[in-house]
Amino acid sequence: MSDDLKIVGLLCNWCCYGGADTAGTARMQYPPNVRIIRVMCSGRINPSMIFKAFEEGADGVFVGGCHIGDCHYDAGNYKWSRRSKIVEDILEEFGIEKERFRHEWISASEGEKFQRTMDEFHKTLSKLGPLEL
């Protein structure tokens, strides 16, 4: 069952996407359920993208950005971090468990953190099972 879980991962080009790359080139194993979408900045991600992903059948959505202070565009990740709070509030309203939505700061060198995060997220989602809207 848990092999069918769909995770949408929205990763910022400069940090987390690089982190996923690092994990890949180092051949670190992590669950293949995550479908990665590269965005230029976590500050570019709208709440509606998260909702669209869930509506289209994602069981979990992951957002990765640069560590606070490291944003390539100066303050994009601050914007995302504030936005993520409203996403959490809204998801709760629609009966989507808050554990299905996760965001993390991962730098390009932190391949291991990316691997660990994906493992954890996959484990959490396996426990929750597929999302029924």
């Binding site: 709208n46 509606s48 669209k52 606070i68 601050y78 504030r82 409203i86 309203e93 629609f94």
Partner: protein, 381 residues
């Protein structure tokens, strides 16, 4: 600036008679029009009867008399009207708290030029939907709804005046216990005095025949001074008892609202009402905060879903919630227009309250900043 209080009443006999408690608001509008300070006044005028108040743009001060008086049964909204139709005009407008809150949010979005409007606030204990008002008068009063010539909310009572001059009053909490009375959003609204308007007027604490005015900013002070010097109103300072009485009324109202807020906020996925949604987009179109119109994200092909009715709530209301719920002024327009009677405003207000807990931001009340979601500042919540 420190706010100051003043009592005012009209000097013009006609206005004094037609206006509610002293006619100061109508006189101030007359002053603005006659002195050429504004192009027009946007105010409510009854059309067929007392339940049928329509926003009217008045350019001739003689027509102002028709707007005097209070209209609790006409829950209108002027924020979007000003933005859509009067953006390039100098306008004076009478505003309920939710009106000024929506105007304030639109100013923050650069949709209304604050230099172009004078806002005369009206203290508001709540409004009644016209259909409900008729039913309620039919049921709880001995009068025929068609005989009502004016209505007033005072001292916790909804008072109607009939054609023959007699009055009838029923306690609002009695009406509300039976599912009538003020609109649901008004019952839980805790902004009763429009302090973001230039001045806030009302009868709370005022002696008979006078309007109690709270001056909120420099423009408000200029307004009062100007109208006084030009001979439109006379003023005097309120006594300490009056000021205390007014804040007492406000506090009682707020306390009642808080009680209603605690009462009922169901989750979207737990309430069946949302299954009734027919995707008519009326709630979006009427919303004073939603100003994108054709560019609305819900019109984009990736969200436009004409096959599924009811629509998936998260891809419809979820998107709207993420766009503007933090700026919801709880005006209740979405409830009023929903053809399927879904209590739409409930969830938007709920999200605004949640957002307020996180950020201390109250839509249209917090003065110094944009909604924190829009801020360029490097702060986390």
């Amino acid at each position: 600036m420190i706010m100051s209080y003043v009592l005012a009443k009209a000097k013009n006999e006609e206005i004094l008679k037609a206006g509610e408690c002293g006619g100061a608001v109508t006189s101030i509008f007359k002053y603005l029009l006659d002195e050429g300070l504004v192009d027009g006044v946007l105010a409510l005028r009854p059309c067929d009867d007392v339940y049928d108040g329509i926003p009217t743009f008045i350019t001739n001060s003689e027509d102002l008399l028709g707007t005097a008086g209070s209209y609790h049964c006409a829950p209108t909204m002027v924020g979007d009207l000003i933005q859509k139709y009067f953006a390039d005009k100098k306008v004076a407008v009478s505003v309920k708290p939710c009106d000024i809150r929506s105007i304030d949010e639109l100013i923050k979005r650069h949709k209304i030029n604050p230099d172009n409007i004078y806002t005369v606030g009206l203290n508001c204990g709540g409004t009644v939907s016209p259909v409900q008002a008729r039913k309620m008068i039919d049921k709880f009063y001995e009068a025929d709804p068609n005989d009502v010539v004016s209505e007033e909310i005072d001292k916790g009572q909804f008072i109607i005046e009939l054609g023959d001059g007699s009055e009838e009053a029923v306690k609002i909490h009695v009406l509300e216990e039976n599912g009538y009375g003020r609109r649901k959003n008004c019952q839980r609204c805790d902004v009763k005095i429009p302090r973001r308007a230039n001045i806030a007027c009302g009868n709370w604490g005022a002696e008979d025949g006078w309007t109690f005015i709270e001056i909120n900013d420099d423009v408000g002070q200029e307004l009062i001074d100007g109208a006084k010097n030009a001979g439109f109103i006379e003023t005097k300072s309120p006594s300490d008892v009056a000021i205390e009485g007014r804040s007492k009324v406000e506090n009682i109202m707020k306390k009642m609202s808080k009680k209603n807020q605690d009462a009922s906020y169901p989750l979207v996925n737990e309430s069946d009402e949302w299954n009734r949604c027919i995707s008519c987009y009326a709630c979006r179109d009427i919303c004073p905060i939603c100003w994108c119109y054709k560019n609305c994200e819900l019109n984009k092909p990736y969200f436009k879903d004409e096959k599924n009715i009811p629509p998936s709530p998260i891809a419809f209301q979820g998107v709207r919630l993420s766009h503007m719920s933090f700026s919801c002024c709880d005006c209740g327009q979405c409830d009023d227009v929903c053809p399927m009677d879904i209590p739409v405003s409930l969830i938007f207000d709920k999200l605004q309250k949640k957002y307020c807990e996180r950020t201390r931001y109250v839509a249209g009340v917090t003065t110094d900043s944009k909604p924190p979601l829009y801020s360029p500042d490097k702060v986390e919540l």
